[in-house]
Amino acid sequence: MSATQTPPKADDTGLTSSRPHGRGDRVFRGIAVASGLVIMLALAGVFVFLAIEGLPAVSLDAGAYEPATSFLGYVGPLVFGTVLAALIALLVAVPFAIGIALFISHYAPRRLAAPVAYLIDLLAAVPSVVYGLWGGRELAKNIAGFQSWLHDWFGWLPFFAGPPSASGRTILTAGLVLAIMVLPITTAICREVFARTPRLNEEAALALGATRWEMVRYAVFPYARSGMISGVMLGLGRALGETMAVAMVLSASPIVTLNLISTENPATIASNIAVNYAESTPEQQALLIATGLVLFAFTFGVNFLARYVAGRSDRRMAK
């Protein structure tokens, strides 16, 4: 009796296949789980490093926090400068990003949309040092006149109280440079979610007699909202953490002011670390690391808050 004639075992019914298809599943699950764990470990590692190195610097002698007298006094203006620069960047970049993304996804003829999208993506490939050089040397020079114009006409606003900086190297200029750096990532994400609006939703609006813009408001924006928030958050992350461009544009002083165009500008946490780290005593280095910890926690908090806000509106609709 040859092997082929043996009656089929239970395995051959097709329900319990002998094919080792479980292996591929296991391998991929392993890779996926490992990737997820590694990134969480890396994040935790960074946090632990910042905490161990930085925490002692929270309670030093008052003299170490020159020109302030306490840790909060030292880090406060830096947080303020960081947030101010990032806010300027977002205020400028987000409307542009949404406009460009809409143009690419819904308005431009296809022949034009692809090259424009490509060019915007290219902006992300420019190193931030180059943006810093350009911002500090070229943009600042050319924008100084505009800033004194702002002062002449809108000097009654605290933002433009002046006196305007002759060099143009102000927090406003830094914010504009940051805006250009934020633009590609925010645009790319908005473009993707806009383009993924279900055709059915768009047609629902169009069939009711919506113009293109009304269709965007009725169908595209509601659908894309949480994606747009993600895009803005990634942009904000970049703006908060950007170092070189800000350090090269600003001549900073540790002050808190809403005045965007004067010669006295608040530094950001990241640029402050970059400028001061190399020539500091170990004590000061610890202090700088502690400011890094503050930035880390702050960015984390902002992201969580945004997720929560975006999630809340989605959850409300899902009910």
Binding site: P109, R110, P198, L200, N201, E202, E203, A204, A205, L206, A207, L208, G209, A210, T211, E214, Y218, A219, P222, Y223, R225, M317, A318, K319
Partner: protein, 259 residues
């Protein structure tokens, strides 16, 4: 309010591709006109050309005439957006606006027409439209809830309510029951019967029993041959169509002897 539609020698193109050729017909006011035919024969394309929705696809255009109540839809002075406000449409799959409540969904078209609505007027429109769509009793206690929370059949009736809320002259339906179960389908068919006292209704369907049940006139579309444009084979009163059609191909299709 309901208007008749005269179509003469209509050719519909996507770019250089001729999708539908030489359609002429008269769609009577306050009646139900059904289009049947195999997939890809251009009946949906033709339906969408009746409110200029096919133009949403880049490169789509028509040659020929569509006249609604003496006004040519494709006259250069006519704004397609205005056409769509007059000629409503219901799609194959229900598509309420996902982030809007039932109430806001019904009013979406009225809001687009940008009139400021008083609360009482808005309430009236919502109630009238939902009653018109046979949905009022099912949703009147939860108008503030999202439209997506309804069942498929209810969502489709919500879309019909949304379409009739602006009191269109004509209501186009593109296979409105193809995603619904038999009970929901029957609810929609009953609704179509009621709506035709006020509206001119044009419906595309794959279901020949449905065409026979709901329509007064029927048009049979087919491809001339594989790769050829679609055309209107026969257009006749539904009774005649399903008992003694003029054309052999129609009879073959209706009796199921044909793909």
């Amino acid at each position: 309010m309901a208007k008749s539609i005269d179509v003469s020698d209509l050719d519909i193109y996507y770019g250089d591709f001729l999708a539908v050729q030489g359609v002429s017909m008269t769609i009577r006011a306050k009646s139900v006109t059904a289009f049947i035919g195999p997939s890809g024969c251009g009946k949906s394309t033709f339906l969408r050309s009746l409110n200029r929705m096919h133009e949403v696809i880049p490169g789509a255009r028509v040659e020929g005439k569509v006249v609604v109540d003496g006004q040519s839809l494709y006259d250069p002075s006519v704004d397609p957006v205005a056409v769509r406000r007059q000629i409503g449409m219901v799609f194959q799959r229900p598509n309420p606006f996902p982030t809007m409540s039932i109430y806001e969904n019904v009013l979406a078209g009225n809001r687009l027409n940008s009139k400021k609505l008083k609360k009482s007027e808005a309430d009236d429109i919502v109630e009238r439209s939902l009653k018109g769509a046979n949905l009022w009793n099912e949703v009147k206690d939860r108008l503030g809830k999202p439209g997506m929370g309804l069942s498929g059949g209810q969502q489709q009736r919500l879309c019909i309510a949304r379409a009739i809320a602006v009191q269109p002259q004509v209501l186009l339906m593109d296979e409105p029951c193809s995603a619904l179960d038999p009970i929901s389908t029957s609810a929609i068919e009953d609704l179509i019967h009621e709506l035709k006292s006020e509206y001119t209704i044009v419906i595309v369907t794959h279901n020949m029993q449905q065409a026979a049940r709901v329509s007064d006139d029927t048009g049979f579309f087919n491809l001339k041959a594989a790769g050829q444009p679609g055309h209107l084979v026969e257009f006749n009163p539904t009774k005649k169509m399903f008992t003694s059609p003029d054309n052999e191909a129609t009879e073959a299709y209706i009796s199921g002897r044909f793909g």
